[in-house]
């Protein structure tokens, strides 16, 4: 049991490093980042029980102690990375799981700007009123720090339909905010129109229930 504890502690550390390196990879990155502290906790349980049994049997219990220490260290560090890299990856994974049905809600977002849009916040400080916008839907924890730029090309931006077609409601936030080139490459989007497009998109998101 003591050896098992050491092994789980080491596995947790490896999962943590995997989560750090694969932050950009949906699902796998989340599993590694959030799985690492869970594995470390299991290692700590085994280490503690091993220590206890060794003490009862009058043995040294060195393996259990070592496993406990490795698991505690692995847990603390993996928790830090789960709350940063893991959360970034969860955002990405949630968007992928949600699929196309929620693309117009801006689920697949890599940038802070899009996240604010999900929270129904007009970052430009529009006329929502001081308390009308409440970003505390992330209450209990802050959002992850800015995610690193993805190592692979960003998720595909869906070009907005022409404004004249009444398609502002279906414009994806990813296209409107994330990728400036996608917005400006549309033939009819001058900067004023772009602002107007963004404003209409924000208004199209239903306000949070109160």
């Amino acid at each position: 049991m003591g050896v098992g504890s050491i092994v789980l502690g080491v596995v947790s550390l490896l999962m943590m490093f995997g989560g750090i390196l694969l932050t950009w990879l949906p699902v796998a990155g989340s599993i590694l980042s959030f799985g690492a502290p869970v594995v470390a906790l299991v290692g700590a349980v085994l280490g503690g029980i091993s220590m206890s049994r060794a003490k009862q049997d009058g043995e040294s219990g060195g393996a259990g102690t070592a496993g406990l220490i490795v698991s505690i260290i692995a847990f603390l560090f993996s928790l830090i990375f789960a709350l940063t890299c893991g959360l970034c990856n969860a955002l990405c994974t949630a968007g992928m799981v949600a699929g196309g049905s929620r693309r117009d809600a801006g689920a697949f977002s890599w940038t802070r700007g899009n996240r604010l849009d999900q929270l129904n916040i007009d970052d430009a400080g529009a006329d929502d009123g001081a308390l009308g916008v409440d970003p505390d839907v992330v209450s209990g924890s802050p959002p992850p720090a800015f995610p690193p730029p993805p190592a692979f090309p960003p998720p595909p931006a869906f070009p907005p339909p022409p404004l004249g077609s009444g398609g502002a409601q279906t414009v994806t936030p990813d296209a409107a905010v994330d990728t400036g080139e996608a917005t400006t490459s549309s033939a009819d989007t001058s900067s004023g129109q772009s602002q107007s497009l963004k404003r209409r998109r924000v208004r199209s998101t239903p306000p949070p229930s109160r």
Partner: protein
């Protein structure tokens, strides 16, 4: 406030390390160390205590997220919003941790009430450090206010910076009061607590924190999150916890006479 502690260089780029995550881990480390030291003083088997602590932490993390998920899913009606947010709720952690502790105490044959008493000062200590993480991360911010202690979150990655207003430093209020609760719960003589009944120290902590949360919540400014008829979900749970703890203390006191 500094939401971003530093950037960790990794092959192919960097990874941000947030202040919130670092202080959350520090809270678990220091709170856990205090719990284990008190358990050692109570002459409990440290190996089993460590195992129980790991199970309780697992339950607490799961409970904190699950309660958040339930509240958020009910509020938005959108399951995917829960996946995207990744928040946690303290009372969920408390309930999940309590459930984990009950399971661990039974499985590992440890006295639950003694474990709870050992955890009583450790919980507010860790919680106080965690609230500092909230402050540095710019979350759990306060209601708009222009008084002498007001703070303005300016980092664009902080939820409290949207809109950028002077606010109550709510996490600091709660952190300071939690430290006071930790000191009180740790130092009050056992004989004064329901005449030394096991579990009384934890009940005192639960009663004090429930009342604290109920009183402080209006300064938090969460008009959206779980408010029903002017009472937030945390206030409701806080009142229930406090009343339950006071009732338990009263009953234990009567039983000991």
């Amino acid at each position: 406030m500094h939401p971003l502690l530093f950037e960790l260089p990794v092959p192919g780029g960097t990874r941000p390390i947030g202040s919130y995550g670092a202080l959350f881990a520090l809270a678990l480390l220091l709170g856990g160390a205090l719990f284990v030291s008190r358990a050692a003083r109570a002459q409990l088997d440290l190996g089993r205590v460590m195992a129980a602590l790991a199970i309780a932490i697992g339950g607490a993390l799961a409970g904190a997220w699950l309660l958040f998920a339930v509240v958020e899913a009910l509020r938005t009606g959108d399951v995917f919003a829960v996946l995207e947010s990744g928040g946690r709720v303290f009372f969920g952690g408390l309930l999940g941790g309590a459930l984990g502790s009950v399971i661990a105490a039974r499985a590992l044959k440890l006295p639950l009430a003694t474990l709870a008493d050992c955890a009583a000062p450790a919980l507010p200590l860790g919680h106080a450090i965690g609230r500092l993480g909230c402050f540095f991360g710019g979350c759990c911010y306060g209601a708009p206010w222009d008084g002498a202690l007001a703070v303005t979150y300016t980092d664009p990655s902080a939820p409290g910076a949207h809109p950028m207003l002077a606010r109550h430093p709510w996490p600091l209020y709660e952190s300071a009061l939690l430290l006071a609760i930790a000191a009180l719960v740790a130092l009050v003589p056992s004989a004064r607590l329901a005449r030394g009944s096991a579990g009384a120290r934890f009940a005192l902590y639960a009663a004090l924190y429930g009342m604290l949360r109920f009183a402080l919540e209006p300064l938090r400014g969460d008009s959206v999150r779980g408010v029903v008829r002017g009472v937030s979900s945390s206030q409701l749970i806080g009142v229930i916890v406090a009343l339950g703890a006071v009732a338990w203390l009263g009953r234990a006191r009567r039983a000991s006479t």
